[in-house]
């Protein structure tokens, strides 16, 4: 049934002038590129912060270049104080988790590709989309501003646990203005994410072109759609949590501060609050957040792989999509596994542990679909495909650590050790990033009309892949020995023997960081000097490949896009585009 009277997304005239075209643009493609660029900048800032941390852990008295310039108070002579180390750690986590991992795979690629993949001319609410980006940008600017204010960034971690985050300046450096700015930054990010999620949902539901039934959607679109729902519900809870925290900080309330709290020899007047309440509310958002990070990566890998295995995924679109939806749903039921040792009711420990083990089932199904889809395939080992393969390996490795952490008894030992840090870096920092890289290399030709250098891409992959294992698998092992996370100094005897391990990881991490410049160079060089890209360089089937590279301002040049097939019509060298009326190759 076709609804002729349904108005498509704003068929706006092409914009003119630099500001309208590239700055305050309502074109989803420009906005997607803006988000991606922001994430790239954020990623390098976040990485630089990690280098500072890593150097300090390996060589505690070393002077770190440029750090003394950034903060003479926090790093006199370039050596970070213990508090400043925590500031670096806090902003590393905040910038990476929010402005890189939540922004790039979802807002970056999703904004660019989702309307095209469903056959629309733009998102459902283009102006709202523009606001979403600029609010995110302001959030990022505010987060970066914490580095230049005299007192520095907050020290409470990306999780900003109360009461440390709630009591204000008395708690230490960065906990005054720095924490205020942090809360503001996150509040902006929440609002932008909520509006973005709304846009994704309505676009996927209402703006599909003729023939694009929900069962013919590319899996990446399904993933963004599912993720938008998860984002909507999760960020809707983070926003009030931040507001309550702000009230505690500036309004004198005691939502999260218990009675008799003594901070730096000062007895605080607050009473009646509960730090546990903060943790519950934060992790209610925080756990779905980590799935908000990974679900787009699932979608990207599911989308990219068939083009290079030249066959549909095992189970078609249904298995992978339902498994992803199950992951999204279950992500709301497990948050307490971050709180096993928090003093939460032990019965709740059981209540959260069981679903945490259950959520591994759909996650494993997703990864097995990817792995089994390789069987019998004549694989084209392009750079995007390599990163997909890397994803499979990294997600399995990281996921296995989750089995241990899911059990309260084991977690009581492993909690707050480097094991946890290794686990979430594997699953979030590496798997999601590899998914993002796969998407980046895959979609670069479409986004900028030029091909990336394949040799540099392969070098990037083959250096990055072993190095991430060297850094983060070692981190798991170090955690098993009991090394505590978020400590800048080796306060206990049992940690001192791990200094050589830390040095090893630091060297590997710095090499890993240096390798990313190969990627950056490739991006910048190819953007301007890369060979021109054809419409469909990968011989792929989905709608984004049925238009020019880059697409015209209304995506399809006014053509009526009609969809006849699902997205996985591959059979070796033969393929049928979604918009082609030819017969299906897969019999669907």
């Amino acid at each position: 049934m076709h609804d002729m009277s349904a108005h498509a997304a704003a068929h706006h005239a092409p914009p003119s002038g630099f500001i309208r075209k590239y700055v305050f643009s309502i074109d989803h493609k420009v906005i997607g590129i803006q988000y991606t660029t922001l994430s790239l900048v954020a990623a390098f800032i976040g990485m630089a912060l990690s280098w500072a941390m890593r150097i300090h852990l390996g060589w505690p008295s070393a002077s770190i270049p440029l750090l003394g310039l950034l903060s003479p108070n926090g790093a006199p002579g370039g050596v970070p104080t213990p508090e400043y180390y925590l500031s670096l750690m806090t902003m590393h986590g905040t910038i990476m988790a929010f402005f890189v991992l939540t922004a790039a795979p979802m807002a970056g690629f999703g904004n660019f590709m989702l309307p095209i993949q469903v056959g629309a001319a733009d998102m459902a609410f283009p102006r709202l989309n523009m606001w979403s980006f600029w609010v995110t940008f302001v959030g990022f600017a505010v987060a970066c501003a914490t580095f230049v204010i005299p007192d520095g960034p907050p020290i409470s971690g990306w999780t900003a646990y109360a009461p440390l985050s709630a009591v204000g300046q008395v708690a230490g450096p960065g906990q005054g203005r720095g924490q205020d700015l942090w809360v503001l930054s996150i509040a902006f990010f929440c609002v932008a994410s909520l509006l973005g999620a709304l846009n994704f949902i309505v676009t996927t539901i209402d703006l599909r072109t003729k023939g694009m039934t929900m069962s013919r959607l590319p899996v990446s679109t399904w993933a963004w759609f599912i993720n938008a729902w998860v984002s909507l519900l999760a960020f809707a809870v983070l926003l009030p949590t931040g507001l309550l925290l702000l009230l505690d900080r500036v309004g004198g309330t005691s939502f999260f501060i218990a009675g008799g709290t003594v901070v730096n020899d000062k007895v605080l007047p607050h009473s009646g609050g509960s730090a546990l309440l903060y943790q519950h509310l934060f992790w209610f958002f925080g756990h779905p957040e980590v799935y908000i990070v990974i679900i787009p990566a699932f979608g990207i890998v599911a989308h990219v792989m068939p083009a290079f295995t030249r066959k549909p995924l095992v189970g078609g679109w249904k298995v992978i999509t339902f498994a992803t939806a199950a992951v999204g749903f279950l992500s709301f039921v497990v948050w307490g596994h971050h709180m096993f040792v928090s003093g939460m009711s032990p019965y709740m420990g059981m209540v959260f542990s069981v679903p945490t083990l259950i959520i591994t089932i759909p996650s494993v199904i997703v990864v097995l679909v990817f792995a089994f889809s390789l069987y019998g395939a004549n694989i084209r080992f392009t750079t995007p495909m390599l990163f997909c393969l890397g994803f499979i390996s990294l997600f399995i490795s990281g996921g296995i650590g989750g089995f241990f952490l899911a059990q309260p008894a084991v977690d009581s030992y492993l909690h707050a050790t480097s094991f946890v840090v290794g686990h979430f870096h594997f699953t979030m920092g590496l798997s999601a990033i590899f998914g993002a890289f796969a998407g980046f290399y895959y979609w670069f030709p479409k986004m900028w009309g030029r091909m990336m250098n394949e040799t540099l891409g392969k070098v990037h992959f083959w250096l990055t892949f072993p190095l991430v294992y060297l850094v983060f698998m070692t981190m798991h092992l170090m955690g098993l020995t009991g090394v505590v996370r978020r400590y800048s100094a080796y306060v206990a005897d049992f940690m001192v023997p791990q200094i050589p391990t830390n040095r090893f990881m630091t060297v590997a991490a710095l090499l890993l960081g240096a390798t990313q410049f190969i990627f950056l160079y490739n991006v910048i060089w190819s953007r301007f000097k890369g060979p021109k890209a054809p419409d469909d360089p990968w011989q792929a089937t989905t709608l984004e490949w049925d238009t020019t590279s880059p697409p015209p301002f209304d995506n399809f040049g006014g053509r009526q896009m009609t969809v006849y097939h699902g997205p996985m019509e591959y059979d070796g060298d033969a393929f049928v585009m979604q918009t082609s009326p030819e017969k299906s190759l897969t019999g669907t």
Partner: protein
Amino acid sequence: MSESELTMATGHEVVMEASPYHMEKKKLGMWIFIVSDACTFATFLFGYGYMRVGSQNWGTPFEFSSILNGIIMTFVLLSSSLTMLAAVRATQAGQKASAIKWLGLTMLLGAIFAALHLREWFKMFGEGWGLFSNPMGGAHQFGACFFSVTGLHLTHVVTGVIALAFIARGYNRGRYDASHVETAGLYWHFVDLVWMFVFPLMYLMNAAR
């Protein structure tokens, strides 16, 4: 090839899949927003519940005069929902003047609600209530919970009144149509529905009985 596939204009009217909700996109967008806003209010209310359950001497300070004020505020808001419905009806029937009148009435009722609310707030401030002060010696979280929950709701009401003003002006000038008014109506009813929970939980549960 079907008739619809042939009737394709260059660049503007393209054939799309029908919306499975049989609803145009701004209305669907408003519903999605309402879902998220409901979760936001729920978080505040659960936080209030947590504070109350966990505290020893919560206290129930509201005398009947406050409850009566609350009843009047509730009736005002419910009436505004009715006038909003009348406005939507009028726009659907193309009765522009009538629609503007009903929209104006809705805004007026919303403003009255806000005024009554603020009057109550200032009376409480005068008695010594604040974000962390409880003049009756009970849990000082009372003020924190009461003012934050009702404050968030009040913000929604005021934003709603302002939005209705823009919608009414746009509708009058022909820039907006019945669907815009209906979408704004959804938001307005939602704000009323939230009050259906705020009034019993914040006022009646704290009534001095």
